[in-house]
Symmetry: C2
Subunit: 408 residues, 2 copies
């Protein structure tokens, strides 16, 4: 008998009929001889409705965070009750638990709390009594009993944290895709579903445009060594196992190709090259809460340098507004220029560490495809370039092909 | 500084705008120099929507009661969050508490739990820190942490029980009427709002048609000696104080007149008068869960008697179906007859105990108004008669007038 944690997202439980389908799937998992804890999200649309109510009462975005958590937590509480009663109606023993009831303790940072402790005795007891446990994702309580929520991707986090706490044999994240692919199949039709991927690879792919899970949940899984499987809630195909890297994983040089569109590049030229300049620039941008991604600075020979960075194209105006006042401090003749219409392409793989020449191979492939490279940035297991947005599909295909990812 | 518990029903908090109005009223109560605990219900319509969801998932009425409670409790949780954040938006310190968070413990009878204990330390602490406490009505938890709900009228019960637990100076039930009237003002325009009424009088009036509160909450208030005020949430008029009877109350013979329409009378004639017959009849009716009200049996002289009782007219068919099979056991020639189109009129007052001739006075007044009396039933502080439904308004006016209730 295995102990399995499953997580179903808001779309999977979006209607009464879908809740019945999820209940059926949970029951089948139990009937196959397993103990099951199923983590469910709020029904699709419910959270937005609740936010709309709060805005109507207080003015947009004015609600206090403590009360926002009390409000939002009702979304998952509704789903757990409906899912458990659906299972009961099928003749199964199932009980619902809120985050607080399941012993999920967090710190007090409302709307983005971090899990600090899980006391799983009650969950074990219910499982040992033959119950399926339906657990509210996304929520917990502080040690003194306040209701908290975990922020974006919180239900994934609940599943992974509970899997760690109860020492589950398997944690399944059920979603609307079949798993993690070597590249977005809409761009590269030859893209293959991966059987396995390391935490670090998924993290790098997530941060460079592959939307499967929030980085935060993957980081948590890595930290506590919880392997999990990303698979579809709509079919029974095996998904992608995400786990600590193994020796055999290193033999694959590149695991996948990520792409991210709608990027813009901001370049500041004529920057005087002395300590503190970069800090000044990115401090000013950070104050506007913008997410800056790639940062490239060329080596300075003349005491004057250029610094470029990418942001989402919607954030260009904000970034320029933040930088304009400090331009004179950066250099006598410092100027700023923004270009949009660019996209990012990344190749990711832990095998890169032990294989040389990966960058050269990638650049050659892009060159052969007639793609011009603008910026380059590398990490230990990732190489990222920016290209013109209208060349990103060709670039992705070329890289995917060059690293043999289309082969079975 | 007084400690006040207020209760607002589902209509009072039915829209974001109304929630803001309620918040304003709560804040004014605090600013007048009081500590305030406000108990709120689910927004009007929300509970029915939740029941609809449950029906859609499980089939009508098939949901397990444990999960129904988890589901329904989200209704009040939504309101407490919205009300507290409305107060926060007005610059006030306010925090929400679910029933469980407020230490309201109940037994385990899901959907109709009874409050067994309240641990109000947390509420006191919040109040002493200058907070307004917004408390979810209708819900609690079992000692082992299961979510329960209290059934119909549960939010009134929460308010009264919490008022008792924290030794409040005043408990206000805010509703859509100005208080308790001597009679329904739609029937008797001269009806006056009562300044005060005893628990027992309100209980008798509630059980005979005056819809202000569920008897259960009044009984609870009586048991624990919690005086409360029924008043309007729409204006600042003083309401009606409901409390233990005082000496001075006895000087008022009749406090009010209640009426109840849509009644039917079932009469069984030819009943053999020996022990156990009545038990047989009402046992059979009770098995169908019908609410039987007045029961009248005439003294038997011949060994054969008639037994009549009233039920709501919608329940006549069920009552007849329950009795038909046992008719032969009741008497050789027992027959059954049902009449609808009747109504009940009650006069209620603790002064009746020390005043004689009240019944005679009532019957004379009805006679003078040309109203024919069918059945008569009395308790220590109530006289009830049934009359033809088309005479009930005239009967109510006559009784109201006869006992001087229109006078200031």
């Amino acid at each position: 008998m295995s102990l399995i944690v499953q997580k179903y997202g808001g779309t999977s439980v979006g209607t009464p009929e879908r809740i019945r389908n999820v209940a059926k799937r949970i029951l089948e998992t139990q009937q196959a001889g397993n103990q099951v804890v199923a983590v469910v999200s709020a029904m699709a649309g419910v959270t937005n409705n609740l936010i709309g109510l709060a805005d109507a009462v207080t003015g947009e975005g004015q609600a206090t965070e403590r009360e926002m958590d009390v409000l939002l937590a009702t979304g998952e509480q509704t789903t757990i009750a409906l899912t458990a009663m659906a299972l009961n109606a099928m003749g199964s023993k199932a009980v619902s638990l809120t985050g607080a009831q399941a012993g999920i303790e967090t710190d007090g940072f409302h709307t983005k709390a971090r899990i600090s402790n899980i006391s799983p005795a009650g969950v074990h007891e219910l499982l040992d009594d033959g119950n399926i446990v339906i657990l509210a994702g996304f929520q917990g309580k502080t040690p003194d009993g306040k209701i908290t929520t975990l922020g974006r991707g919180g239900s994934d986090l609940t599943a992974i944290a509970m899997a760690a706490a109860i020492d589950a044999d398997l944690c399944q994240i059920l979603t609307d895709v079949d798993g993690v692919y070597t590249c977005d199949p809409r761009v590269v039709p030859e893209a293959k579903k991966l059987d396995e991927i390391s935490y670090d690879e998924l993290l790098e792919m997530a941060s460079s445009g592959t939307k499967v899970m929030q980085s935060r949940s993957v980081e948590f899984a890595k930290k506590f060594g919880v392997p999990f499987e990303v698979r579809s809630s709509l079919n029974n195909n095996p998904g992608t196992l995400v786990k600590e890297e193994t020796m055999s994983m290193e033999s694959v040089v590149i695991r996948g190709v990520s792409l991210e569109r709608d990027q813009a590049k901001v370049t500041i030229t004529g920057v005087e090259d002395h300590p503190g300049t970069a800090g000044k620039i990115f401090g000013a941008v950070a104050e506007t809460n913008l997410l800056v991604d790639m940062i490239v600075q060329n080596v300075s020979k003349t005491g004057i340098t250029d610094i470029s960075f990418t942001v989402h194209k919607d954030d260009v105006v904000k970034a320029e507004a933040a930088l304009k006042p400090i331009l004179p401090e950066l250099g006598e003749n410092a100027t700023m220029e923004a270009t949009d219409g660019i996209a990012k392409l990344s190749v990711v793989g832990i095998g890169m560490r032990s294989h040389s020449g990966v960058a050269a191979e990638m650049f050659a492939a892009l060159s052969k495809a007639g793609v011009n490279i603008e910026m380059i940035s590398t990490s230990e297991i990732k190489i990222t370039v920016t290209v013109s947005e209208d060349q990103i599909d060709a670039a992705a295909k070329a890289a995917h092909e060059a690293f043999g990812l289309s082969e079975a």
